[in-house]
Amino acid sequence: MKHRYLVVFLLLTLVPAGLIVWLGWRVSAEEQHRTRREFIAVIDESLQTHRQIIEDRLADRFTDLLQVVETARLADTAGRRELARTHPWVRQCFEIGPRGRIVFPSRSQLTEAEQNFLMRTATIWQERQPFRLVDEYGSRADSGWHTWYWSDGPHYILWLWHPATDHVYGIEVERMRLVSEVLAALPTEGQPHVSIPSEAQIQLRDPSGRVVYRWGRAAVEADASPITSIALNAPLTSWTLSYYTGRIITTRQFSSQTLINTLAILLGTLALLSGLAIYFYRSMTTQMRDAAQRVTFVNQVSHELKTPLTNIRMYAELLERSLDPDDERRRKHLDVIVGESQRLSRLIGNVLTFSKSKQGKLSIHPQTGCIDETICRLIEPFRQKVGADFSIEQQLDAQDDCQFDSDVLEQILTNLLSNVEKYAISGDYLSVSSSLSDGLCEIRVTDRGPGVPTSKQELIFQPFERLSDKLSEAAGTGIGLSIARSLARLHGGDLSYLATDSGSCFKLTLRVSP
């Protein structure tokens, strides 16, 4: 019993606690995930803003540069050299003929700078069509960027296709100027309008992954991976802007915060649940103790009542015997005394049986006897009680001697008959049948009273359940049928209610041995 309560107690506390932990964990994980997503979205926006800053800065330059290419197209050799010598963005001009033939710089008369240019760009001219003249939509582009690698990094060419001559004109951009321009566009430390959190850092990395520029005072490890990064636009497509955080906002930090929260919730819930469970457990055990005391008390009282009652009955019967046979009035009075005391002893018997059954002390003591005899013995007083108008049918077919507990049978039948007397007296009819076969005795008690509604047919076997609590209804303790069924089951049989057209029918079976 105690053990079961402990299990219930543990279930009541641990299961909800576990559930809360799990839910809490899920919620916090989801929250963390969401926060991180939002965080990344904000960062992404910040990176895009900076990319836009770079792009805005370069857009005008690139427009100018296309103009420069156009100027270079129209210029002669000296003009093109002059351009490379004086324009801060132009390292070299060039012109390509229809089949990839280099028209300028002309191989016949090269300056040192031009020789170097041809050496740098040698890999480009090995290709049949050095510049991708088709854009991503498949149409022929008439200008674009070309990136190639030579020596220590990427170099950039801006080219322009001139449809009339089918020549490509271009300039090699001063790549360090380009990089320098990008850096110049980006924020420096302590610029309030572009400030990023002090624990963050944005890095600009070149195609080889080398940090070219950074801002933000966070201490970032060399091998740290960025929260998020984006690529720059053409021609710097292999360059990335990456957002890093220092040691302060890390996932570890996130989860330890969550862990503390979850633990706090868990502990709180556990404490609350334990408190509740202990409270209920205590009140339950108190109730149990009270009930047990009450049962013991009733038991003792019942025992105490039994002795005087037996004496009352005995002396009443003695008195009856010694009575003058003609003294009808006194005989009637004595009959009432005997009948009521029998009723009282039956009730006491029920109470004692009930408390025994609750204590698990009920047992049967089979003895050899005749079932029908027991039935008859009980029907006679019933017949006298109900009077001559009440018809009683008997179909008894269990005359053979067998082993059964006549006290038990008597108690069951008494309860059933008492019920007929109490609730079905209006039907003026009782039928009792018995049969015996294969060690199973079956007894049916049928009346023509109001019967039991279908929904309540099982309920009536529960202790203290009564169909109506109206004061006008017959008195009763509500334990009769419950006891009867318990006894029948103890006796290897059962007591059940059978539906009939009118009235009630109780079927009692008992396991008997020959």
Binding site: A113, L183, V211
Partner: protein
Amino acid sequence: MKNLFLYLTSLAFLVTPALAKQVQLEAALANPLLKSGQTNKTFLKVGLTGFALEADQERTPVNVALVIDRSTSMSGGKIAQARDAARLAVQRLGAEDIVSIVAYDNSVEILVPATKLTDKTPVLKAIEKLEPTGNTALFAGVSKGADELRKFFSKEKVNRVLLLSDGQANVGPRSPGELGELGASLVKEGISVSTIGLGLGYNEDLMANLASKSDGNHVFVENEVDLVAAFDREFGDILSIVAQEVVVTMDFLPGVKPLRVIGREADIAGQQVTTMMNQLYSEQEKYVVVEVEVESGKVDETRRVADVAVSYANLATLTPDRLTSELSVRFSDQAEVVEAQANAPVMAACVLLVATENNEQAMQLRDKGDIAGAKQALFDNAAYLESSAHKWDSSALKDYGFSNLSQSAAIDSPDWSATRKRMIELQIENNRQIGHGSGFVFPIDNQKKTK
């Protein structure tokens, strides 16, 4: 000798005020007389000397960005000296000048955005904030410094980035080539970068390349206590600039072939040689030396060798100026006469450049690990300089001879790093004629109003 010459020319300008505000062009051949009947090689020198500025004259306003390394290696005395030097620089400038101060470590901070120096107090306050921290984002520092210059950029100002670093660039582009490309691009905008290398930890190739490709000065300051003096000299130079956007074009006539330009970048396209200088300093000569091959001529023949044209922006008159000169050569069959006719100052200048080239090659040998070869090469160079000094009566050659001799001795010593830095400083000094300026100190508030 040269100083005397400069002095004399300046005197001449003073006597003739109409010419005083013009750069002096002096083009000459090392051998105006060549041996007939054979192909000759000789040198052509185009010298440009900035006119003198007088004390009561208004000077050109400057637009200068101080780019200062504040990486952790600058801790202690270095950063303190850097602050002193920066303060001195600000004190030397006036209300029409523009200054910006950029500090870099891992990242870049603009301590003073480009601003007119009408009030020096906030600038001097900002200098106090220079505290060492982090790495060396040199490329970004220079980029930001240059960008500050662009805010008030004017061809009528002197636009200069002054970079101070004591360490290796370790964030961003960091090779001498890359920084050289940056310098080459900046000079096309009219921005020169002067670099001051402090201590023994910096990358001298990088700093030198950045300076020489952008036509700026390069100084090696071994001990931080000399930093203030180095800044002072640099600002002396910056404040004495008289001409900018100098383009020297030499058109060689048939029968003369330009072989190479020594010590400077130049375009040789067929018969035309073009080279540029970002600025000329007052009373200071910058020159270009071209090695040429002259086809054989007949005795007493006079042949036109080259037409020299120089264009520049005159900062005194704020007008573009153009100077021209023609060069001819005569032929003689008498070797002694040819020898005697050699132009000693031109020869001395050419020998200095050739010896500098030798010095560079010796350093390359040392870099490859050939210590003995380098030692011998420097020793030979010293001997060459010594004999040339005597022949052309040049103290500069004598001095450089001594330098080479001591370098030869120091080449296998433990302080090779300092020697190498000194060698590079001298190479740039010789190639680009740095440090021969008048050293004229201008009164602080004597400057020209910008238009």
